[in-house]
């Protein structure tokens, strides 16, 4: 356990929330992740960067339970996590977004974000069917939280629009909203700024920082844009060909020779 500290911009970084210990993930003969360990501390923005095919998304999928590593352990809140289904992991307070947006395209923005509240809603099937007792009150209470998320992300105008019709930038935002609505302890963002223009990237960076700042949500973020990562991340893991080649603050990573080689290429002679 490390001591907590306060960052330059006044956020408190707490103890370790999640620890990945010697994770190895294989698909048949291909090793996507090779013996990687790192930790995630409470309240920090932890970035995972690396060239295409480095295994970043696979790592996120391990955290969220889509993939089960052949070797290694995942520790969450000081306990070893056993192999679980993704929906069980979601109930533990881990929410995520996807690299290629995975929204419920036929449903409205509002309904999409409401699905983020499912883990918090407890009313039984019978009560829902009859619209009796807890079901209605629960629906109203959760709707209020969703409205706050909509307000926070500034998407009031599109709340009734089926998300399949929204432009890309808005879809990314709705997906973030769905993850936020779950009030996660750990938020996983898989390339939240991929394919965005400068302005949209700035908006998204601001939302991510605000989420981290206002709600103290721990964020794990995969990103290609080095500039963005260096601006918003507290610590960075660098991966290349499934291996970890660097880990530390943006400044440390930037000056790491292995990282420079991986990104700029190295002369083979």
């Amino acid at each position: 356990m490390q001591d907590s500290y306060v960052t330059a911009d006044g956020r408190t970084i707490g103890a370790t929330v999640m620890e990945m210990k010697n994770i190895t993930l294989r698909f048949g003969g291909v090793t996507a992740i090779k013996d990687i360990s790192f930790d995630i501390r409470e309240g920090e923005v932890r970035a995972i960067i690396g060239p295409n095919g480095a295994g970043k998304s696979s790592m996120l999928n391990v955290i969220n339970g889509f993939y089960h590593p052949q070797e290694g352990e995942v520790w969450f809140h000081g306990k070893r996590r056993h192999a679980m289904k993704p929906h069980q992991i979601a109930k533990q307070g881990i929410a995520r977004t996807f690299q290629n947006i995975a929204l419920f395209k036929g449903m409205s923005t509002l309904d999409n974000i409401m699905t983020g509240r499912l883990t918090h809603m407890k009313s039984g099937l019978f009560s829902q069917t009859m619209w009796w007792g807890g079901a209605q009150a629960e629906e109203v209470a959760n709707r209020e939280i969703v409205e706050k998320v909509i307000h926070f992300l500034e998407i009031q105008a599109i709340r009734k629009t089926p998300v399949g019709r929204l432009p890309y930038g808005f879809q990314k935002r709705v997906e973030l909203g769905r993850a936020l609505a779950a009030e996660p302890k750990l938020l996983l963002l898989d390339e939240p700024m991929a394919g965005m223009n400068v302005e949209e990237k700035e908006d998204m960076s601001r939302f991510i920082l605000d989420v981290n700042d206002e709600f103290g949500t721990t964020i794990v973020l995969i990103e290609h844009d080095m500039g963005v990562v260096m601006d918003i991340a507290d610590r960075v893991v660098v991966m290349d060909y499934g291996k970890k080649i660097g880990d530390g603050t943006p400044d440390e990573v930037r000056n790491n020779q292995d990282v420079i080689d991986a990104y700029l290429g190295v002369a083979h002679d």
Binding site: F66, P86, H87, Q88, A90, A95, F104, T115, L118, E139
Partner: protein, 332 residues
């Protein structure tokens, strides 16, 4: 107005009610197709099985009695009691929920992430299994189903509308059972739509229909949802089984009503609940009116057998996604 005009209206009304019965079957298909992308070939057999089970419970039949008698040389048939209809319906519903659970546990669970065609094949297998299992459990003889829904023509309506069309017109002849079926189907559809729009489970159902991965990531258990969907489809099959079974007896041909549901699905779209209803109405009214206006006077009748399929074929050519189906627009 001539009597023929009013007979036309009568045909129209009868067509609508027949259409509602088609819709009931189509609805079961749509529910499962939306939530799991499976075209459930066994939907018709599920209706037959539900009706068989219902009659069995009502008459106090001993399940598998033929099998038991054959193996042990006993001679048992009935428990000797007669169950009230409402109780029998509740028990049958419980059997259908158990069935949904078993299908998920022993079939669907093992076929996750398979191609739709594989799942379709699995439901064909399921259909044949259930057909045989139903026979084995309750016997293959034709049974009479009576849950207390009034049957036969509605005399009141007939007498009170006779004045409309002059001396040649004897009033509208509408079957009580058909009218009840229409009311039931209407209630069923309204409640299903409300359920899927305004409850958290309904939202989860729609979410699963849209994207499995995303659904998992927000904490929805696919397996729980599949059990719920198949239970609802089982319930719809039960309602369809009751209506069709009361109308024409519980027998093997009951499972063939699904063939009538196919054109309904092509018209309404495989993914739309209102589509199943409107599609059913168009097919029902269309085939009756076509028979009345063109079939009998010009073609020698019996057009009802093929009209629905012709209409479906036309739709496939001009609007393949159906009236209400989702049009797939691929973004490039």
């Amino acid at each position: 107005m001539s009597a023929n005009f009013y007979y036309g209206i009568e045909v129209f009304l009868n067509g609508m009610m027949a259409g509602v019965l088609y819709s009931l079957v189509a609805l079961g298909f749509v529910l499962i197709f939306k939530a799991s992308g499976i075209f459930n070939y066994a939907q018709g057999v599920m209706a037959l099985f539900a009706a068989l089970t219902l009659v069995g419970f009502q008459n106090g039949q001993i399940p598998f009695s033929h099998l038991i008698n054959a193996v042990f040389g006993t001679n048992i048939h009935h428990f000797g009691w007669h169950m009230p209809a409402i109780l029998a319906i509740i028990f049958t519903l419980m059997v259908m929920i158990l069935f949904a659970y078993l299908v998920e546990k022993y079939v669907l669970k093992h076929l996750v992430n398979q191609e739709p065609i594989i799942l379709f094949m699995a439901t064909i297998g399921l259909a044949y299994f259930m057909e045989g299992f139903g026979d084995l459990m309750w016997g293959a003889d034709i049974k009479k189903l009576d849950v207390g829904i009034p049957q036969g023509g509605n005399v009141w309506l007939e007498e009170n509308t006779a004045f409309l069309g002059g001396p040649d017109f004897y009033g509208f002849y509408l079957d009580n059972l058909d009218m009840w079926a229409t009311v039931c189907a209407g209630l069923l559809v309204v409640s299903l739509v409300l359920f899927s729009q305004y409850t958290k489970t309904g939202r989860a159902l729609r979410a699963v229909a849209d994207d499995h991965q995303a659904a998992l990531s927000v904490g929805i258990s696919l397996r729980a949802i599949w059990v719920i969907v198949w239970s609802i489809a089982g319930f719809v099959a039960l309602v369809a089984g009751i209506m069709w079974g009361s109308k024409s007896g519980v027998q093997f041909s009951l499972s063939l009503i699904e063939l009538k549901a196919l054109p309904v699905l092509m018209l309404g779209g495989f993914t739309s609940i209102p589509g199943a209803i409107v599609g059913g109405l168009i097919i029902g009214v269309g085939e009756k009116m076509f028979e009345f206006l063109i079939g009998v006077p010009f073609l020698g009748g019996a057009t009802e057998n093929w009209f629905a399929y012709m209409l479906a074929l036309l739709f496939l050519v001009f609007r393949p996604q159906g009236l209400f189906g989702e049009k797939i627009i691929e973004r490039v």
